[in-house]
C-alpha cells in the first residue's frame, strides 16, 4: 500500500505542471491559489502554446488584484501573445484596468499615439490620466485631443488640455461637400459594403454589421477616426480607406455597374500572362462567364468593367486597359501609359 502511494505521488509530481497551474489560477482570478503557487516556486513566466503568461491572462480576464500581485513579484509586463499579437498593455487599456496600467508603465512599458487615441475612445478619464504617465510628443497629444473632440468627450479633452495637448486644427467643410460624400460604397478587394452618412453635418462611416463612427475633417477631402486610427481620403466617386497599414479602395455602388456584355470568345483571347519592359510587374488576365479579371504580381485579383469589346476599366483604381488584339495591353493609370505584351497563354 505504501509503495502504491509513493508511485501515485511520484506520478502526480511527474504530471503536475506548477507553471500551467499558475497560468490557470491567474486567468481564473484565484488570488489565494496564485499566492500559494508563487510561494511554492511556480515559474512566473510560464507560457502556453499561444505565448500568454499568467500575468497576461490575469489582465486578459480583468483580474486586477492578481495582475498587481504578479507585477509586484516581478512578472514581465512586456508580453505579447503569439496568436493575436496583442500586447499586455493593450489588454490593460482595453479592459480599463487603471491601476494595472499605472504599474505596467512604472515598469518601463511605453505607449504609442495609437494607444493614446484608443484610450480616448474608452471614455475613462482616470484611465487616460494613468496612460499620460507616459511622455507623449506634442503631436501625439494633439492627435488624441482631436480624437476626443471627434467623439465629443469633453472630459477626455479636458484631461488632455491639462496635460498640455496643443489645440488641433479642425477643418470646416461645407455642408454641400459633406452631403456629396454621403452614400453607399463597396470595394473590389474586400466584401464589406460601407456607408458614408451625413447626419446633420457630422460625417460618419459605417461598415456593414458595425456601428457608425464619426469622422473628423483633416482637410476638405481627408477625414479620420482617430480612436480606431482610421483615415478616409475622398476622391471622385470613391475613397481610400487607410487602417492597420492597409489601403483599401472603395467606390460608389452606383458606379459599379457591370458594364457592357462581351462575348466569352472575345474575352478568352485576352487571357494570359503579360509583362512590360517599363515596370517589373506581371499581369495575369483571366476570364470567367463574361467577366474579365486582372491580377498584378503580389496584388489582389480585380474584376474589370467592360466599356467596349477592347476597353476595360477599374474605376476604383482609375485604371484603363486597352487590348490590342490578343497580344498586348495598354494600361493608362495616374497619367502614365504602360505597354504590356503577352508572354504566356
Amino acid at each position: 500500500m505504501k509503495l502504491f502511494l509513493i508511485i501515485v505521488l511520484a506520478g502526480m509530481a511527474l504530471f503536475a505542471d506548477p507553471g500551467e497551474d499558475l497560468h490557470t489560477a491567474a486567468r481564473r482570478g484565484q488570488l489565494a491559489e496564485v499566492k500559494k503557487l508563487l510561494e511554492a516556486g511556480a515559474p512566473l513566466e510560464w507560457k502556453n502554446q499561444y505565448g500568454s503568461t499568467p500575468l497576461f491572462m490575469a489582465v486578459f480576464n480583468r483580474h486586477a488584484e492578481v495582475a498587481l500581485l504578479l507585477l509586484e513579484k516581478g512578472a514581465n509586463p512586456n508580453v505579447t501573445d503569439t496568436f493575436y499579437k496583442s500586447s499586455l498593455i493593450d489588454g490593460a487599456l482595453q479592459k480599463q484596468l487603471t491601476e494595472v496600467v499605472k504599474a505596467v508603465l512604472a515598469n518601463g512599458v511605453t505607449l504609442t499615439g495609437r494607444q493614446l487615441n484608443m484610450t480616448v475612445g474608452m471614455g475613462n478619464a482616470a484611465l487616460l490620466q494613468a496612460a499620460l504617465q507616459h511622455k507623449f510628443t506634442p503631436a501625439e497629444l494633439e492627435g488624441a485631443l482631436k480624437a476626443a473632440i471627434t467623439v465629443k468627450k469633453d472630459d477626455m479633452a479636458a484631461v488632455l488640455r491639462k496635460a498640455g495637448a496643443p489645440e488641433p486644427k479642425i477643418e470646416v467643410v461645407s455642408a454641400e461637400t459633406l452631403a456629396a460624400y454621403a452614400g453607399d460604397y463597396a470595394s473590389q478587394t474586400i466584401p464589406l459594403p460601407v456607408k458614408i452618412l451625413n447626419e446633420g453635418g457630422q460625417l460618419k462611416i459605417q461598415a456593414e454589421g458595425q456601428q457608425a463612427a464619426p469622422l473628423t475633417a483633416d482637410s476638405a477631402t481627408e477625414f479620420s477616426f482617430a480612436p480606431a486610427n482610421l483615415k478616409v481620403t475622398f476622391k471622385k466617386d470613391g475613397f481610400t480607406l487607410q487602417q492597420g497599414g492597409q489601403n483599401i479602395e472603395f467606390m460608389r455602388k452606383s458606379m459599379m455597374a457591370p458594364g457592357k456584355k462581351v462575348d466569352m470568345a472575345v474575352l478568352s483571347k485576352y487571357t494570359g500572362e503579360y509583362s512590360s519592359t517599363d515596370i517589373p510587374l506581371k499581369l495575369d488576365v483571366t476570364a470567367a462567364e463574361g467577366i474579365l479579371h486582372v491580377q498584378a504580381t503580389g496584388q489582389p485579383k480585380f474584376t474589370m468593367t467592360a466599356e467596349s469589346d477592347t476597353v476595360f476599366t477599374l474605376a476604383s483604381l482609375g485604371a484603363k486597359f486597352t487590348f490590342d488584339g490578343a497580344a498586348a495591353i495598354t494600361l493608362e493609370q495616374g497619367g502614365r501609359t504602360i505597354k504590356f505584351t503577352k508572354v504566356a497563354k
Binding site: 499561444y50 486578459f60 480576464n61 501573445d81 496568436f83 466584401p191 456593414e208 454589421g209 462567364e289 463574361g290
Partner: protein
C-alpha cells in the same frame, strides 16, 4: 422495363437524409424535384409547421416516415439565441436547468410521434450566445436514432423511442482555444456507418474519435486526437476513409480501425465545417484568420500531405468559417458568413464567380442542392434559391418568418426546415 421500374422504386424507397447534411454530408438531395417558391410565415406551400419547444440548432434528419430533431429547454423561458453578424468570445449567461430532448415527428402530418428526455439538470458546460445546448444533428439508420448533447452525453434510441443505451463521453468543453473557460458548446454531429456510431470529440484535453456498436454501445475503436476544440462532423468517404476537419490538421482515418492514414495542415485555429466528397476529391474549408484555406484532397493518401503534395489536388487561399460548402454538378459552392458566395470548378479549383446573395446578412446554415438549384438560408429567415451553374441567378427568396441557423433537408421533393421555433415541411402543390 420491369427491372427499370423496380430500380426506380428501390431508389425512391432509399431516399433519405439520415445525418447532418444528408448522405455522406454531401448536402445534395437525390430528389428530382424541389420547391421553388413558398412563404413560411403565411403558410404558402407549407405542408405542415410544428412548434419545437426550447432552443436547438440541430438540423432535421429524415428517414422513412420520420423527421428527427433535438432541443434543449431552459428553465429560463427568456433564454434566446443572439443571431446576426457579430463576434464575441463570451459564453451565454444562461446556465439554468435544462431538459435535453429528442423529437420524432411524423413526416406526413408533422405531429410529434414521440419525444424523449435524455437528461435534465444544470448544463455541465456553457454555450455561445449564438449557440444552444442542442447543436448536434441526429443520425439514424432507420432502426436506431442517435442524439449527441456534448457534455451531457451520447444517447441511442430505438426507432420507437426507447433508450437503447447512453454513454458519458466526459466534459466536452468546446470553446475558445485562447481561453478555455470561454465555453461555446459542442456541435459536431454523430454519424452512423457499418453498424457503428462515430463521434468526433475535440476538446481542450483528451480529444478523440471513436466508433461504438450501434446496437450495444460497445466500443469498436477509439483513437486519440492531438486536437483542441473543433465543431465539424466527421465524414465517411466512398473508399472507407473517415475524414475529419481539425485545427492542427485535416485527417484521414481507416473507418474500420480508426488508424490515422494521412494528415494535412496547417489549418485554422477554429474549424467548423464538415468535409465533403465530390468528383473524386475531398473538400475541406476553413477561414479563421490567419489561415484561411480550402483544400481539395485526393483519396488514398498516406502520411503527411504537406510533404506528399501530389495528394493535394488544389488549394484556395480563401475559405469559409461556418457553413459547410456544397459540391454540385462539378462546382463547389462556398457561402461565407456574410452571404458572399464563391463558386469554384471542383476539378481545378478555378473560381467561376463570386456573388453577394441577395442583400447580404448573416449566413450560418449550410447550403444544400437539389433539382438544379442551390438552397441557401440566412439568419434573417429567408431561403434563397439559386440556379446551379456557371452564372449567378437568384430564382427566389422565400421568407420563413423566423430565424434560420440550421441546414435544411430535401427528401422526395419536400424541403424540411428547422427554424428557431418551428419545424417546417414545404412542397409546391402539383
Amino acid at each position: 422495363m420491369k427491372s427499370l421500374i423496380l430500380l426506380s422504386a428501390a431508389a425512391f424507397a432509399a431516399e433519405s437524409w439520415p445525418q447532418f447534411r444528408g448522405v455522406g454530408a454531401s448536402g445534395v438531395s437525390a430528389s428530382a424535384t424541389a420547391p421553388l417558391r413558398w412563404n413560411g410565415e403565411k403558410g404558402e406551400n407549407v405542408l405542415w409547421k410544428t412548434a419545437i419547444p426550447g432552443l436547438g440548432l440541430s438540423s432535421p434528419v429524415v428517414f422513412g416516415d420520420r423527421v428527427f430533431v433535438t432541443s434543449a429547454i431552459s428553465a429560463d423561458a427568456t433564454s434566446k439565441v443572439k443571431h446576426g453578424l457579430y463576434g464575441t468570445t463570451e459564453s451565454h449567461a444562461d446556465t439554468s436547468k435544462q431538459q435535453w430532448k429528442t423529437y420524432a415527428v411524423d413526416r406526413k402530418s408533422g405531429k410529434i410521434v414521440w419525444e424523449q428526455l435524455a437528461h435534465e439538470g444544470l448544463p455541465k458546460t456553457k454555450r455561445h450566445p449564438k449557440a444552444t445546448q442542442a447543436n448536434s444533428t441526429c443520425a439514424t439508420d432507420g432502426k436506431f436514432v442517435v442524439s449527441y448533447f456534448g457534455s451531457e452525453g451520447l444517447f441511442v434510441y430505438t426507432w420507437d423511442g426507447k433508450l437503447a443505451w447512453k454513454k458519458d463521453l466526459g466534459i466536452v468543453n468546446a470553446g475558445w482555444f485562447f481561453e478555455p473557460d470561454y465555453e461555446w458548446g459542442a456541435a459536431s454531429s454523430p454519424i452512423i456507418h457499418d453498424g457503428a456510431v462515430i463521434v468526433q470529440v475535440d476538446r481542450h484535453k483528451d480529444s478523440f474519435i471513436a466508433a461504438y456498436e450501434i446496437a450495444t454501445g460497445k466500443e469498436r475503436w477509439r483513437t486519440a486526437r492531438e486536437e483542441i476544440p473543433t465543431w465539424g462532423t466527421p465524414t465517411v468517404m466512398p473508399n472507407g476513409e473517415l475524414v475529419t476537419n481539425g485545427t492542427k490538421s485535416v485527417r484521414g482515418y481507416d473507418v474500420k480501425t480508426g488508424k490515422e492514414l494521412w494528415n494535412v495542415g496547417p489549418n485554422s485555429e477554429i474549424t467548423v465545417t464538415t468535409p465533403i466528397f465530390a468528383d473524386g476529391l475531398y473538400f475541406v474549408s476553413n477561414s479563421y484568420p490567419p489561415i484561411q484555406k480550402t483544400y481539395a484532397i485526393k483519396p488514398g493518401a498516406k502520411g503527411d500531405l504537406s510533404k506528399a503534395t501530389e495528394f493535394v489536388a488544389w488549394t484556395q487561399p480563401r475559405g469559409v468559417y461556418m457553413p459547410t460548402p456544397v459540391a454540385y454538378e462539378k462546382q463547389l459552392y462556398i457561402v461565407q458568413n456574410q452571404g458572399i458566395m464563391n463558386v469554384y470548378d471542383t476539378a481545378s479549383g478555378k473560381q467561376i464567380y463570386q456573388q453577394r446573395i441577395g442583400t447580404g446578412g448573416a449566413y450560418t446554415g449550410s447550403p444544400i442542392a437539389a433539382a438544379g438549384r442551390i438552397y441557401v438560408s440566412n439568419e434573417d429567415g429567408e431561403i434563397n434559391v439559386i440556379k446551379a451553374g456557371a452564372q449567378y441567378e437568384l430564382l427566389a427568396t422565400n421568407p420563413m418568418g423566423e430565424v434560420l441557423m440550421t441546414s435544411p433537408a430535401i427528401v422526395d421533393g419536400v424541403l424540411y426546415v428547422r427554424g428557431m421555433s418551428h419545424l417546417f415541411a414545404i412542397a409546391e402543390k402539383k
